[in-house]
């Protein structure tokens, strides 16, 4: 009877046992999942940066990353810089934009009123996305990757490509550097103090505004890097970061919204889950829905995510 039920389930989802027992296919999807996951993790890190410091979700994070990726395109394809250098330039440029945005649109609002700020980030999303559409049009373009093509390690169809290795390596490097920056430097201390207690941060002489601006800049740089990792797999066009944003939100929620390590692990898990489910359950149209399901389940079962700290929400 158990066997009967199992066959029925397999039948409903159109799962073939051939696929399930194909080790190479598993491995191939694991690699791909890790590679995707690394990109979600970067954007999730950016979301977590803002959430930690300000207590709200920056819905314009994907749009800032979108802008950043177009800048990568400009610097690399149009200006002919090497891709890695173009990415660095784009990170710097998008940080500058983010600091400007924070100064002009965010700072005028009292930092402890979260709802208007969320609405403002939605407005920014509309503005930045359409600005990108106005400047670069809706034609799809292809963006080169920072990493060489090819795969150093292959098992049949399972390839551990340079890109996968590069994506993972980049994300771990970012987390490491971020950790050092936040725990070992003065500006990092200021950033964490502001996140922890805004009023006391003021009272010890920390300039709160510029510190939050720094957080925005850093988040935008990380988001741009994430975009530069993800886009070479897809084609560059103005709506590309929306899907990435949803997966990254799922990753951040899973990790706990205020945990950097959580964001990375969340990203990898979401990437893996997405690729495995899509392949083995034949759910290509439901890839996005799996992300939503992750968000829903996490928020219901464990609102603080896997690694988040319990914290009274400031809404």
């Amino acid at each position: 009877m158990v066997l009967g039920a199992l066959t029925w389930v397999l039948g409903v989802f159109d799962i073939s046992l051939d696929k399930l027992s194909n080790g190479e296919l598993w491995l191939a999807q694991v690699f791909r999942g890790l590679s995707d996951g690394a990109t979600y993790a970067s954007v999730a890190l950016a979301l977590v940066m803002i959430y930690k410091s300000t207590g709200f979700i920056n819905f314009a994070q994907g749009s800032l990353a979108l802008l950043g990726v177009y800048l990568v395109y400009v610097f690399s394809v149009e200006q002919g810089l090497p891709v890695a250098l173009a990415v660095v330039c784009a990170m710097v440029a998008s940080s500058a934009v983010a600091m400007f945005v924070e100064r002009v649109f965010i700072r005028p609002f009292p930092p402890d009123h979260v709802l208007p700020l969320v609405i403002v980030t939605l407005g920014l999303l509309l503005i930045i996305d359409s600005a990108v559409g106005i400047v670069w049009g809706f034609r799809t373009r292809s963006l080169p990757s920072m990493f060489p093509s090819g795969a150093p390690i292959e098992w049949g169809i399972a390839q551990l490509t340079w890109r996968t290795i590069g994506n993972l390596g980049t994300v771990f490097a970012v987390v490491g550097l971020l950790y050092l920056l936040l725990s070992r430097t003065k500006v990092g201390l200021a950033f964490r103090a502001v996140s922890s207690n805004l009023e006391s941060a003021r009272l010890v002489g920390i300039r709160v505004g510029p510190t939050l601006g720094f957080g925005w800049a850093l988040a935008a740089a990380i988001g741009t890097l994430g975009g530069a990792l993800v886009v070479p797999d897809l084609l560059l066009e103005p709506s590309i970061m929306l899907r990435v944003l949803i997966f990254s939100l799922a990753a951040a929620a899973l990790g706990g919204l205020d945990s950097m390590v959580g964001a990375v692990i969340g990203g990898l898990v979401v990437g893996l889950a997405r690729n495995l489910l899509v392949t083995f359950l034949d759910l290509s149209e439901l890839a996005l829905a799996t992300a939503v399901a992750v968000i829903l389940v996490v928020l219901l079962v464990r609102p603080t995510g896997l690694f988040g700290s319990t914290r009274v929400e400031r809404v």
């Binding site: 979260v114 407005g123 999303l125 359409s130 559409g133 929400e313």
Partner: protein
């Protein structure tokens, strides 16, 4: 400054009645005035007002009205209202084109169905609040188009191609559209704007407009009555002071799910109206762009007010339309191109949040209370 009229006095009531009569006359005459795509030219750009656009704006007003219940009145940040609107639209569309129901009779399924749907949706909202709810609903909104494209349902929903609804909404023979047109045509001045007979298409458009107006009015009236009573007070209490509300015996769980239920049902009706209006439903029309657009409408019009929904509906219909029609920078011949509409809406959203937190409705009310002050009823009467 004019002397204040006392609320509830005969004079005040008279003024209200006159206001409503004027409003009704305008609403009744507008379709005839703009039936042949009224399009004034301002600074070298042609702008269409268009009866079709107005009808669509009316459907959007109802959508915002629905969002207003969950978000504006009971304070639960829902960024996924487009999901309900889309579900309503697709339910109606499939029932009309596949099973040959009439649009109005689909409401018999859409309203209870979406209410139930909203209640189910509201259940997680009991545990998930504020920003987290926003996050979840945002994701849900983004997922709607891919659900429509699912293979299992694509043969009914038309998948990516959308679904053209085969139904003819023709005015019944007794409708005196031609008589009214002729009659208006005879009025000097205004008359020249009115065609002296409506073509078949125009007749259909005018008829649809009236259907949508009536549906919208019924929705607004029902929602107004719901909100004016116990339920409405409970919603507002949940928004402003959840702990206090719970302490004074408001059943938070019941009212929160109820607000999502009503919100979704009204959203579903708006979906039906949109399907009626355009005779077509496509997956991407009900994606997260619509969700954000509705939030824009809510905030720009005025969250937590009924007038706000009207203003918001007009804003999200006409701002993108007119900005795409602004092909040269007003007064110059600098060419403009691209999705300015969304950028302008985004700017509007930020500007309103910044300068007029109550939205346009709040601004109007302030101006009105200046021009026509109404004093509260003195106590003890």
């Amino acid at each position: 400054m004019k002397a204040a009229v006392v609320a509830g006095s005969r004079q005040h009531r008279q003024r209200q009645v006159i206001g409503w009569v004027l409003f009704a006359v305008v609403v009744a005459l507008i379709p005839f005035l703009i039936a042949d795509t009224y399009s004034p030219t301002i600074f070298g750009n042609r702008y269409t007002v268009g009866l079709g656009n107005l009808s669509q704006a009316i459907a959007l007003m109802v959508a915002i009205l629905g969002l207003n219940i969950a978000t504006g009145y009971s304070g639960q940040l829902s960024l996924g209202h487009s999901f309900f609107v889309g579900s309503g639209a697709y339910l109606s569309a499939v029932m009309v084109s596949e099973f040959h129901w009439s649009y109005l009779s689909t409401l018999g399924v859409v309203v209870p169905g979406l209410f139930l749907f909203g209640v189910i949706f509201g259940l997680p909202a009991l545990r998930i609040q504020g920003l987290y709810l926003g996050l979840l609903t945002f994701a849900v909104a983004a997922v709607f188009p891919s659900i429509i494209r699912l293979e299992n349902v694509a043969n009914r929903t038309g998948g990516s191609n959308g679904l053209s609804i085969e139904s003819d909404l023709e005015p019944p023979t007794w409708a005196p559209l031609d008589t009214v047109t002729e009659w208006l045509h005879a009025i000097p001045g205004v008359g020249s704007r009115v065609p002296d007979g409506l073509t078949g298409r125009q007749e259909e458009a005018v008829y649809k407009y009236f259907l949508l107006v009536i549906m919208a009015m019924v929705c607004f009236w029902l929602v107004r009555n719901i909100l004016a009573g116990r339920v409405g007070r409970a919603f507002v209490a949940i928004r402003d002071n959840p702990l206090g509300a719970a302490a004074s015996g408001v059943n938070l769980a019941a009212y929160k799910t109820l607000s999502f239920g009503i919100s979704a049902a009204v959203g579903g009706v708006a979906g039906t109206m949109l399907a009626m209006h355009s005779g077509f439903v496509g997956p991407d029309e009900f994606g997260f762009s619509l969700a954000i657009l509705l939030i824009v409408g809510l905030i720009v019009g005025g969250s937590g007010t009924l007038h706000g929904a009207v203003v918001g509906g007009l804003a999200i219909q006409y701002v993108p339309l007119w900005s795409s029609q602004t092909q040269t920078l007003p007064g110059t011949d600098v060419a403009l191109e691209g999705p300015y509409g969304a950028a302008i809406l985004g700017g509007l959203l930020i500007a309103i949040t910044f300068a007029l937190p109550g939205g346009a409705a709040h601004g109007f009310r302030r101006i009105k209370s200046r021009l026509m002050p109404v004093a509260p009823q003195p106590p003890g009467r």
